[in-house]
Structures are given as structure tokens and as C-alpha cells.
């Protein structure tokens, strides 16, 4: 295995690499945000009018803690009734599994190619 001599990277090229990485990073966080795909919000499915602690499903002991925290049945209404929606489609689940497996397959494959080169240069070809 011939010894690989990497090219020396100039200042400008280094700077461009950093800028590319930063753009990709910021993009990964903010693009889902801008496209409005971010996060799972809780919603109140069935609002209750003239809420009381009983109607909100709270026992006297639980209601006492809410009152100690400074809540009234009205102000605690949304907090208590909001729920997540855990329904999902099998198609989306399969898509996610495929993406994750593809990702790990890709890295492990490329890593192995690069790793063999490292080992043969470091330890010499047998």
C-alpha cells in the first residue's frame, strides 16, 4: 500500500469548509421549524364549560394542590385537559425504520472502506 500524502489545505478552502458546515447545521435545525413540522403539540379534545374540579376529573386532594399552586378550575382547564395524539400510520413508521437502517448501513459501509486503507497503511500489507 502506497503511503497516502494528503494535500495541504489553504486558508480560503478551510474557511469555505467551515461555512458549509455551519450552513448545513443551522439548516438542519431551522428548516423543519420554518416548514412548520416541528414538534407535537397538545390539544384539548373536549372543552368543558363552567369547569369545576370534579368535572376536570380531580379529587379533592388533587384540587387542593392546584389551589396551592394558585390555579382555579378555569385557569387550569387547558393544562389539565390537553392531551398528546399518539396515533401514527404504519407507513410512516416503516419509512423511519428504513431511513435509520439506510443511514447506519451507509456509514458502516464507507467507514469500512476507509478503515481498511488506514489499517493497511499503518500495519503494512501482509
Amino acid at each position: 500500500m502506497a503511503h497516502y500524502e494528503p494535500p495541504k489545505q489553504g486558508k480560503a478552502s478551510q474557511l469555505i469548509d467551515v461555512i458549509v458546515l455551519v450552513i448545513l447545521t443551522v439548516g438542519a435545525l431551522f428548516v423543519p421549524l420554518w416548514m412548520g413540522m416541528a414538534g407535537a403539540a397538545k390539544t384539548v379534545a373536549a372543552p368543558i364549560e363552567n369547569a369545576t374540579w370534579e368535572a376536570l376529573g380531580q379529587t379533592p386532594a388533587q384540587a387542593a394542590q392546584y389551589e396551592a399552586l394558585g390555579y382555579t378550575p378555569e385557569s387550569a382547564h387547558d393544562l389539565i385537559l390537553a392531551r398528546f395524539d399518539y396515533s401514527f400510520s404504519v407507513g410512516a413508521l416503516v419509512a423511519m425504520v428504513v431511513v435509520i437502517l439506510l443511514y447506519y448501513f451507509l456509514i458502516l459501509r464507507f467507514s469500512d472502506i476507509e478503515y481498511r486503507e488506514v489499517i493497511s497503511e499503518k500495519f503494512g500489507q501482509k
Binding site: 416541528a38 414538534g39 386532594a61 399552586l69 387550569a76 398528546f84 456509514i107 488506514v118
Partner: protein, 479 residues
């Protein structure tokens, strides 16, 4: 070689035979390792873990707490074994480079930097919010501008990191210890051990045992990670501890035990006082659940103690994150995985100063520009990808270098059981994240695929092939 070094000179003492003129300083002990690991994580008990309660109820959060505890015990055991053998700044990045391969290492390095930089941003946001609350409580007219406080937290801690690792982690040791003691004090003074107890678990859980059923327990795993996220960062200190083979396993395993205790106590205290709907809503309800519990305990002393505990926990965490992210970034620069300019060490302070300075504006962008849950999710996802890498890493490590081929500072028991457990728990957590943040998960993996291609086809040409393998190990089996 002899001409350009002078052992009495502080800047050119010629540490090591490889021509390092200025290297990182080896000054830390096991207590600092503990402070680095626990310091980063303990903020998770002061805020954030309670989202798990919202996801599935109080019992679900406890189950998630313990299963995540198992996950992290596996992480700590595996990590201790590998890192007691691969002792270099960069931690898991360097491990991946030697065991799996360069592209994996590049990805792991990015997981580390993102997980820590995002966590740092989340901490700064929380600290800013704390100042806001305190200002309101003290009767400040109008809304306090949180931005200067967020920026100050990041700037001050970056400056501390810039000036040297010993002072940085000694500071962490002190404030982490105070934050941990605050949890213990709150426990003994509210649980009935000292004076009257205010715990009423049975009454508060009545009718709300598992509000979402069992799928809520699965969903809670997402934020269950938050109880412990970051403990694996201890390995970043490898090049700066005096005896890594001993101090790293000791500090890491002591850290995970501390956290298991702190997490369970925190769950017990908070769920016994706060109703689950309030506790589980970290935005409109219990932003800082331990602090809210102290307020209900009716003692001004406890309120102050837990207030400072919360502030110290966020500072300790952000501090540790700056330390870890900059070490990983530095290590990648040193190997030319990133521009070599980042691989510089400050000749006087002996810190990776360029990496520290560079990551400041990145942290500021996220702290000032993105919502908290978003930042936390980004951090958790990067962490999760990293934990999925670890079982692959240890299985390959044991295969390529069996126990008798190289000496390890610590050997973890029951291999491959911990690796397989860890893999299974990661699978469950991926599903939990999918339930709430599926699109982000895919977007983020899309990002890692793009940068992986960029690295493989462009960036890797600047990397030395053979010399990046620096451990004095025999040739791996099977190559």
C-alpha cells in the same frame, strides 16, 4: 528533536515523543471527572425530565427513569472499558476512529458537538428564564430582557473555559455538589424524615395512574433520557486527567450512581407534591419542578436553596458542555477531519482556544433563535444516535482486539449482554421520538447523510491515513 524543546519551559516542555510542543495540560483527578459528568446532567433533574410525566403520567416517568437508567448504565460500562484504553481528547470520536472507521468517527464527532452545544443553548435559555422569574418575584415593573443574561452565561463560561481546564472543572465541582446537596435537603425535609412530610403520592395518582395506557410509557422514554443525558461526556477529559485508565472509569461509574439516586429522589419528591398534568407540562406548568415543589413546601429557605440549585445546575451543565464540545471539535481539527486551524492549543492556558471561541457564536444562534423544546430535541436526537453507535463499537472492539490482546484499564462484565440491551433500548427510544417528533428525526438523519457524503467524497482527502491511528495496539484481528 532535542533542539526545539526545553523541559523547564512552560510553553515548549516537549511533552511526549511525537513532537507536541504545546499540548493539553494533565491536571485533573477523579473528582473532576465526576463533576464533569454529573455537572452536565444534573440540570436534567431540575428541568426537562418532567416532560416524561406529560408524555405518559407519573408512573410512566418512573418506569422511563429506570429503563433509561439501565440504558445509561450500559453506556457507562461500555464507555468506561473503551475509554480506559483509548485515552485521548475527543472521547467517542477517537474510539470510533480506531475501532469502526473514519466516517463513523466524523459522524460521532458531530453528534458530540451538537448534543453538547444544543444542551448548552438550552441551559442558557433556562438561566435567562430564571433571571426573568426572579425579577418578577422581586417586583420588577415590565418584562426583563432575557437576552443579556443568556449571552452573559455563555460568554462568562466560555471565558472560564478559555482560561484553563483546572479552574473550569473545580468551579463545576463546587456548584454541582451544591446542586446535588440541594436535592438531598429537599428530600429529607419534605418526605417526613425530618419534620412533617408533605408527600401524598396515592392521593395524587388516584384516577390518573396511566393516563395514556402503555403507549404513554413508551412515549415517556423520549424524555427519560433527559435524566442522564451527557454522562458519557466524561471521556472528553481523557487527555487532561492525571491517570485516565483509573480516573475515567471511577469518575464515570460514580457519576451514573449519583444520577440514579438523584433521578429517583427527584421523581419521588416532585410526583408526591405536584399533580401530574401540572408537573408534566414543562412550558406552561412546572418549568423547574424541584423549585415549584420547594415553593409548595412553605419554607423560604428551601425556595432560596432550590432556586440557587437550579441556577447552579444550569451553569454547571453549560460549563461542562463548552468543555466537551470544544474538546471534540479540537480533536477533529487536529486530525484534519475539520480544518486544521481548529487543532491549536493555547500556549499559556493549554486549552483548545480556537474551538472554544468558534463555538460561542454557534451556541448563541441557537440560544437566541430557537425554542427550548426544539433545542432539547436536537440534543436528545444527537445523543440517541451516539448511544446506538456504542453497542456496535464495543462489539467490534471485542472482536478486533479480544481481551487478551490489549490491556484495558477496566473490563465491563457480561459482554455482550449490555451491548444488546443498549441496542434494544435505543430502538424503543427511536420509536418514542417517532411518536412525537418523527419529522425532525428524519430531517436530522437527512442532515447526517448529507454531511457524511460531503466528508467521504471531499473532506477526507485532507486526512493522513495511517498516522491517524495513534494507539499502540497490535493489528486488529480479521484485517
Amino acid at each position: 528533536m532535542m533542539t526545539d524543546t526545553d523541559i523547564t519551559s512552560p510553553v515548549m516542555d516537549g511533552m511526549g515523543p511525537h513532537g507536541t510542543k504545546v499540548g493539553l495540560l494533565r491536571v485533573l483527578g477523579p473528582a473532576h471527572v465526576w463533576a464533569l459528568g454529573v455537572g452536565i446532567v444534573l440540570v436534567g433533574e431540575y428541568m426537562g425530565w418532567n416532560f416524561a410525566v406529560g408524555k405518559g403520567g407519573a408512573y410512566a416517568a418512573l418506569i422511563a427513569c429506570w429503563f433509561a437508567g439501565i440504558l445509561y448504565t450500559c453506556v457507562a460500562m461500555i464507555d468506561s472499558e473503551v475509554t480506559s484504553t483509548v485515552a485521548a481528547a475527543g472521547g467517542q470520536y477517537t474510539q470510533a476512529k480506531h475501532i469502526v472507521g473514519p466516517l463513523m468517527a466524523f459522524n460521532v464527532g458531530l453528534y458530540l458537538v451538537f448534543a453538547y452545544t444544543m444542551l448548552e443553548a438550552a441551559n442558557a435559555i433556562t438561566a435567562g428564564y430564571l433571571f426573568f422569574v426572579v425579577a418578577q418575584m422581586s417586583g420588577h415593573a415590565g418584562d426583563l430582557d432575557q437576552r443579556p443574561f443568556i449571552i452573559l452565561v455563555i460568554m462568562f463560561l466560555a471565558w472560564l473555559n478559555y482560561r484553563g481546564v483546572l479552574a473550569t472543572l473545580t468551579f463545576n465541582l463546587v456548584i454541582t455538589a451544591i446542586a446535588f446537596v440541594a436535592i438531598l435537603v429537599l428530600f429529607v425535609s419534605t418526605s417526613g424524615i425530618l419534620g412533617g412530610g408533605i408527600m401524598q403520592h396515592a392521593a395524587l395518582f388516584e384516577g390518573h395512574e396511566l393516563p395514556y395506557g402503555w403507549i404513554g410509557v413508551l412515549a415517556a422514554m423520549h424524555f427519560g433520557l433527559w435524566y442522564y443525558l451527557g454522562i458519557e461526556g466524561t471521556t472528553q477529559a481523557a487527555e487532561e486527567v492525571r491517570s485516565p485508565a483509573r480516573a475515567l472509569p471511577f469518575g464515570t461509574l460514580a457519576g451514573i450512581m449519583t444520577l440514579l439516586i438523584a433521578a429517583t429522589l427527584t421523581w419521588y419528591i416532585c410526583s408526591g407534591v405536584l399533580p401530574w398534568e401540572f408537573l408534566g407540562d414543562g412550558v406552561n406548568g412546572a418549568v423547574a419542578p424541584l423549585f415549584s415543589t420547594a415553593q409548595l413546601a412553605g419554607s423560604t429557605g428551601l425556595v432560596w436553596l432550590l432556586g440557587f440549585g437550579t441556577l447552579f445546575a444550569t451553569l454547571a451543565s453549560a460549563n461542562g458542555c463548552i468543555n466537551d464540545a470544544s474538546r471534540a471539535w479540537f480533536a477533529m481539527g487536529r486530525d484534519k477531519y475539520l480544518p486544521g486551524w481548529f487543532g491549536a492549543v493555547h500556549p499559556k492556558y493549554r486549552t483548545p482556544y480556537r474551538s472554544i471561541v468558534f463555538l460561542v457564536p454557534i451556541a448563541l444562534i441557537f440560544a437566541l433563535g430557537a425554542p427550548l423544546d426544539q433545542v432539547i430535541t436536537f440534543s436528545i436526537l444527537s445523543g440517541l444516535l451516539e448511544y446506538t453507535f456504542m453497542p456496535l463499537n464495543i462489539i467490534m472492539f471485542r472482536k478486533k482486539w479480544p481481551l487478551n490482546s490489549i490491556k484495558r484499564g477496566y473490563e465491563h462484565p457480561f459482554h455482550p449482554l449490555p451491548a444488546l440491551t443498549l441496542l434494544a433500548l435505543c430502538g424503543i427510544t427511536f420509536f418514542a421520538v417517532f411518536l412525537g417528533y418523527g419529522t425532525q428525526l428524519v430531517a436530522m438523519i437527512g442532515f447526517y447523510i448529507v454531511v457524511s457524503l460531503w466528508f467521504h467524497f471531499w473532506r477526507y482527502r485532507f486526512v493522513n491515513r495511517g498516522t491517524q491511528f495513534t494507539m499502540p495496539w497490535p493489528k486488529p484481528q480479521g484485517y
